[in-house]
């Protein structure tokens, strides 16, 4: 189902956590709310899920504004950051919990719960307690519990942040697969731009309770709307030009040394990090604005091997004119 936020606002006393945001997530999309901690992304998610009252504005799910409806009435289900599995119930009863609340008979709800556990490949551990499961397994159970009532919108609050990096990548793939299979609308809160890029059809970059940019991942990366977006998603240099406009240049489009071009500025090498396929070189450039500007260039490993750089060395640094993307203030 479509999810639409209209002038959605959340105030706690005098602080505004979410500041009148508008957003439309079309049915079946994978949407990531991306931003640093305190940007209002979790509050937004909780308002969509009915776990936080709305100060003003509306959440529209499908055909109607949901107002004060409970999560079950909204057709949303939430997967909590810490999974929030009931520690006194085994996996099967955790998954069957919402069916029990709806008054389904025991045999029926257990059968449905087992089918759900099958979907996340956890049936063989159905009788374990949450404490006896690893983080990844707990997450699968939490996912099954969220999906068992057939919600139209699944809300995920930093679902991967508690996992180790290896498992995170695997679960990421699996989330994407499930979403495609079930055709549900997923709204996923994360502070990892990598996760957002990998998963979403729609990246919503938030800062200070507002939406900085909402677009598909490629647009966000190729044409970041603001300096904040360019900095937050990484891989960009934000450069203030002499005419006081700001541009974002992808770090892998920087040109160093002989190929730097006519607009090159002198820059001093301050760090060199070997990354395998590429080398990340940190520069400090004078002559771009008042203070020294920190810039990064990502250089292909073979190109770097041809012209290695030494720390402290000053070289011309420039960029392709068509790689510079103008930022709005």
């Amino acid at each position: 189902m479509d999810v639409e936020l209209i002038r959605l606002t959340k105030r706690y006393g005098h602080t505004t956590a979410v500041d009148g945001i508008d957003l439309k997530v079309r049915s079946g999309a994978y949407c990531c709310l991306l931003g640093p901690s305190g940007c209002g992304k979790t509050t937004t998610l909780r308002m969509i899920g009915g776990h936080e009252t709305v100060s003003s504005g509306d959440v529209v799910i499908g055909p109607r504004a949901v107002g004060d409806a409970t999560p079950a009435e909204r057709g949303t289900a939430m997967m909590f950051q810490s999974y929030a599995l009931f520690p006194h119930l085994d996996c099967r009863d955790n998954v069957a919990f919402s069916l029990k609340m709806r008054g389904l008979p025991k045999a029926e709800r257990r059968a449905k719960a087992l089918a759900m556990l099958d979907l996340v490949q956890m049936r063989h551990l159905a009788e374990r307690l949450p404490a006896q499961l690893s983080g990844g397994q707990q997450q699968r159970v939490a996912l099954a519990r969220a999906l068992v009532t057939g919600p139209k919108v699944l809300l995920l609050d930093e679902p991967l942040s508690a996992l180790d990096p290896f498992l995170r990548v695997r679960m990421r793939t699996e989330l994407k697969r499930l979403q495609a299979e079930l055709g549900l609308t997923f709204i996923h809160v994360t502070h990892s731009q990598e996760e957002a890029m990998a998963l979403s059809d729609l990246v919503v970059v938030m800062n200070g309770g507002r939406i900085e940019q909402a677009a598909d991942p490629r647009t966000v990366f190729e044409r970041p709307a603001t300096a904040f977006v360019a900095r937050f998603i990484g891989g960009h240099n934000v450069i203030r030009l002499p005419d006081a406009t700001e541009v974002a240049v992808r770090a892998d489009r920087m040109r160093v040394g002989l190929e730097a071009g006519p607009e090159a500025v002198p820059a001093r090498v301050v760090s060199v990090e070997y990354q395998g396929a590429s080398v990340h070189v940190g520069f400090e450039a004078e002559g771009l604005g008042e203070a020294a500007t920190a810039l990064t260039a990502v250089i292909d490993d073979r190109a770097y091997a041809g012209h290695p750089l030494a720390l402290g060395q000053t070289v011309p640094l420039g960029w392709d004119a068509d790689a510079a993307h103008r930022l709005s203030a």
């Binding site: 999560p71 929030a84 009931f86 919990f97 609340m101 709806r102 519990r145």
Partner: protein
């Protein structure tokens, strides 16, 4: 005596279990093992001096004979036979059984009242009071009655409940009743009232402690799963507060079963209780008889606790 045992037992159970393979012990593990025993020693000593020795002495004395003026260290089971005298007679209930039933009745009534009040208060403080400071303040408020002694707290009920006490006077003044209500004081009611007053806090503290450890996101998760407030209470909060309920129940049951002061003062010295029997025998210097009664009481209370812990596996939950 029984509550000394309760506070000491978990500590004794915490002694780390050393690996069994004694043959392959290296010097290092042996040293570590010795250290573990050394660390457990102070608690074990306290346990020994204040629990094992007195209990052993009580059991020994309970098998001794006595007459009007001396205790004779000779083995006899007469004390126990005296305790259960007439109990094999099916026509009439013997004194001991009647006394136990009376005490048990107080125990059950007090348990129900303290559990309901304790759970409600703990729930309110744990879930409805947001600020930590207010929580602590309310908690201290609960302990204020403990700034005075047990007896004073009980006696303070007397001017309130007496025949011409505050309650009767007020009700008559308001014209609600015409003659004073008898049985407010020196009755089962006043005994249970005093027990509840004295013991509710022992229920509140452990239940609150259990509830405070319930992750708030579980309540949200239950809400997300479509549970109503009552469903959440019954399916999430109560099961997770079980360890606290069990510990509080053990406190209340042992305190009420062993009590003789409250029953005496609030019952106007007219109501029998097991503790009272023991106390009377002790003041008559019939120490072996008192010891035998104490051993029987200990057994009864232990059975009740075993039954309660059967319902909840405490060691698993802690």
């Amino acid at each position: 005596m029984t509550d000394t045992a309760l506070s000491a037992m978990p500590a004794a159970a915490n002694i780390p279990a050393a690996p069994a393979s004694a043959a392959s012990l290296t010097a290092k593990t042996r040293r570590r093992r010795a250290l573990a025993y050394l660390q457990a020693l102070p608690m074990a000593l306290v346990f020994l001096v204040f629990f094992v020795v007195p209990l052993a002495l009580t059991v020994i004395v309970s098998f001794w004979a006595y007459n009007e003026y001396e205790i004779i260290p000779a083995f006899t089971v007469r004390n126990y036979l005296d305790v259960f005298e007439g109990c094999l007679d099916t026509a009439d209930v013997c004194t001991t059984v009647r006394t136990y039933l009376s005490t048990l009745k107080f125990c059950v009534l007090t348990w129900i009242c303290t559990l309901l009040i304790g759970f409600t208060v703990a729930y309110f403080v744990a879930f409805h009071v947001r600020s930590r400071t207010v929580q602590m303040a309310l908690f201290l408020l609960c302990t204020i009655p403990f700034w005075t002694s047990n007896v004073i707290r009980m006696i303070s009920w007397i001017p309130l409940l007496g025949r011409n006490g505050l309650v009767n006077d007020t009700l008559m003044g308001m014209g609600i009743i015409r003659t004073p209500i008898e049985g407010l004081l020196y009755s089962d009611f006043s005994v249970v009232l005093a027990f509840v007053h004295l013991n509710t806090v022992f229920m509140i503290v452990p239940i609150f402690n259990s509830m405070a450890r319930i992750d708030r996101s579980l309540i949200e998760a239950a809400h997300d799963c479509g549970a109503t407030g009552w469903q959440t209470l019954w399916n999430v909060v109560v099961p997770l507060a079980k360890p606290g309920i069990a510990i509080g129940s053990i406190f209340v049951v042992t305190l009420v079963m062993g009590d003789f002061v409250t029953v005496g003062v609030m019952g106007g010295q007219q109501i029998a209780s097991v503790g009272k029997v023991i106390q009377v025998q002790m003041s008559a210097l019939q120490l072996p008889a008192a010891a035998a009664n104490a051993v029987v009481l200990l057994g009864a209370v232990m059975l009740m606790i075993v039954a309660m812990t059967r319902l909840i596996d405490l060691r698993k939950e802690l």
